[in-house]
Subunit: 295 residues, 2 copies
Amino acid sequence: MQVIETIRALQLLSEAERGAGQTIALVPTMGALHEGHLALVDAARARADRVWVSIFVNPTQFNEPSDLDAYPRQLATDLAACRERGVDVVFHPSVEEMYPDGAQTVVTVRELSQPLCGASRPGHFDGVTTIVSKLLLAAKPHVAVFGEKDYQQLAIIRRMVSDLGFDVEIDGVPTVREPDRVALSSRNVRLSDASRAQACVLVAALDAAERAVTAGETSIERLLFLVRNEIGKAPLARIDYVELRDPDSLSAVTEITDRAALLALAVGFPAKDGDSESIRLIDNRVLRPARGHVD
Amino acid sequence: MQVIETIRALQLLSEAERGAGQTIALVPTMGALHEGHLALVDAARARADRVWVSIFVNPTQFNEPSDLDAYPRQLATDLAACRERGVDVVFHPSVEEMYPDGAQTVVTVRELSQPLCGASRPGHFDGVTTIVSKLLLAAKPHVAVFGEKDYQQLAIIRRMVSDLGFDVEIDGVPTVREPDRVALSSRNVRLSDASRAQACVLVAALDAAERAVTAGETSIERLLFLVRNEIGKAPLARIDYVELRDPDSLSAVTEITDRAALLALAVGFPAKDGDSESIRLIDNRVLRPARGHVD
């Protein structure tokens, strides 16, 4: 497994691989790899000859400096996990490599970046789309793989790739879950024990909503009340948002029809002792009234 | 000469050319080709095996719908000029091809886009950087060639390419001038005869400034007064801006030292009869107090 630290070296390797007829699948990550990331690696392996993983904690997508500082970093463990899983190349650039002195170029996906996590985290998605552009231009992969847990991020990246004409396919991979069905996240390790125990309320709320819709619920008001009520059963949970959106445009859904609708949740929980911040967890499900969900 | 209308077809051709070891130089234009553009074609020929010209009147870089409508379009003449000059590929996409339904992604170079033409034409450079990104991703050239007449545009594109890590070299080509040294521009044909006759006042003002600096002028106030006075000799001229800026950062220059300084002008002139708009001409020169200009 090669570890590469500069854009130039990665571009040269990409040109060489492409010239030799090899296909490349890129898995962009911020490290702190868990089984969710490794499922992306497996999906990448199924799609291309070469699997490249980038590990870069991107400062421009953090709103709070404290969140950036607290983001878990464990390069040696991550490299071992990549090696174990058969990754061919890890791209691990410095902040200075990705954001050279005076860097001032930003890629923005205007409408899709506004609601949901975009409303809670101003500028977050500009940071994501800018760094993903840089990673795509550095690696020049044939495929890039992202998790469906970050549903809005995936929708935004698909739109950006289509709008700008990046010559890459974007693959989404279903969310990987713990035994209690909490979605895997690098942030889970920062939860207090009590928070972690109560975090399964997100997926329970998604389940409740799905059951209701399958049973014929047509009132958005009642559905969102049900979801909020379900989350409320966890005394530590603080709802950031609970929203029903169009799965493609992310515009607000005003009635439940037989079209699919995205139910997206963001909920804060207290962190471990010594970490004053609230840890924000997200989860989502596409509700398909006619046929049940595909998750 | 091949004429290609879709991004996909251009990307496939680029991959094939690159795979065969051929280098590609792209000349992005909005058509209405004149000898200035053809000098870019010649420069491209000197830099690469294949010369590709894009012809696309980009709606997002026009502030005024009337300016977009009035922009000269002459595809058959442009194609003949390209063929004559040995161009290998012309990329001539539709607006729908470059801006698919729902397109909402914008590339912004934040600071460099603010002053000069950016102040006069809000959003103009976002349109330029967005379309140039799309053209670079469509053609995947080794080199892209731009004219130094649009100095700020060239500086912004260099910054964007460096910031995002596009794997392309950007070449600037000196301004081509008419016999009376008016800078070539597709907008010149829209000037009234009297305006066209007086348009040489821009280059005369640049000359006057250069002579003054070479002769030891150190006062910015006096220098700008001299330039404005020179432009004022043309009764039809209406100054948009006359500014002295750092050639790299485009930040305001507050004193004349032995460092180079960019003198940039934008001046409006009345259009031909039946065209109510003022035609905005630009020109610039890098003043090098110690050694004279390099233009």
